[in-house]
Symmetry: C2
Subunit: 212 residues, 2 copies
């Protein structure tokens, strides 16, 4: 069966976003420092329709993480647009051609019609909870993997429910001091480091989640 | 000049000890899980006068971290024996021949005569604060490095004061959920990963602390 995977950048002190998050700035204060390593890569820039960037082990990681992904799941906060019933003019942060190029299932408490975008991305809004979203994402992914795109809360829910098979952490050598933690309230899963890629900017550690 | 280094095992969620620490159990609940990787190595067992253990990348790390160390500094809690004026019958956790084989400076608020042990370890009790301890340790170490042996509070103080040059973290894939954090209250030091050693049990990441 295909895998359920996640990957996220985390500060060395465990935060995936800095303090004082807002709807406009979901990364919080200093949170953009977690993503500088990725944005500097040629792969990230290609995925986002831009030129330039560096070829490096980090760039290969950015390529690697999207290989074989057939569908994505993300939390409402990652999709953005604020809380409560939908402002239907909000179509995500990514413009008309989002970098997913695959079905994306958005966890929400508020119904909304599916939103097809350019380049193969369709946002489907799921109000039936994480298991329903996973079922739909698996069906859409076919033989492909399902990527839990984030944010922290979505990853926490899948990890705590023992539905996540792989967690790839990009450990960034910055200390944010406060903010939103990733590995909190997820119980005591059995994790096995199965791959490590080191660079001067970040340490990538892929953990397999061992299911009992 | 010689370096001021530290190395410590930390859970993936950032703890160096579990919850409910006591004088008798300074590692707290579950904290011993952070050290299983080390205790399994041939190097650790040799250092502690025992036979057996595995030769592995982890064992090489355990060897590596003590190379070139000329003196140690540790906090009172790591030395043990409880708070307040000294019970002079307490000579540390390590028996008559502690595994340091070098001068060890213990940070304390309570004076006590130096305590020579077998095998080259002498515990010297420093009431003048972290800079005084470092000055004494540097003098004792000669050309050797000074190792801040722990615990968390001692490492935090040296890191926050920009007196630490290298921090080697052994990132253990367990989640303790609560306990004593390492990277808290230390400001925003500039850290550069300079060496990574991966094993199935633990990911070792050596950070250089860049001084402004």
């Amino acid at each position: 069966m295909s895998s359920v995977k996640s990957q996220i950048s985390v500060s060395l002190d465990g935060f995936v976003a800095g303090p004082s998050q807002t709807v406009e700035n979901p990364l919080g204060e200093g949170g953009e420092r977690l993503h500088e390593w990725a944005i500097a890569t040629a792969s990230w820039r290609e995925q986002h329709g831009k030129e330039g960037g560096r070829r490096s082990p980090d760039s290969e990681v950015v390529d690697d993480v999207v290989q074989g992904v057939g569908a994505y799941i993300m939390g409402r906060k990652m999709f953005g647009g604020g809380q409560g019933p939908w402002d239907e003019s909000w179509a995500g942060w990514w413009g008309e051609d989002p970098p997913f190029h695959a079905p994306v299932f958005v966890l929400t408490h508020h119904e909304r019609e599916p939103l097809p975008m350019q380049g193969g991305t369709t946002f489907t809004f799921v109000t039936g909870g994480i298991e329903s979203a996973l079922e739909q994402a698996r069906a859409a992914a076919g033989d492909g993997d399902v990527m839990i795109a984030g944010g922290a809360s979505a990853i926490q829910q899948y990890l705590a429910a023992s539905l996540l098979d792989e967690l790839y952490l990009h450990i960034v050598p910055v200390l944010l001091g406060a903010g939103e933690r990733l590995l909190e309230g997820v119980g005591d899963p059995t994790l096995e480091p199965v791959e490590v890629v080191a660079s001067p900017a970040v340490t990538h550690v892929k953990y397999r989640v061992v299911h009992a």
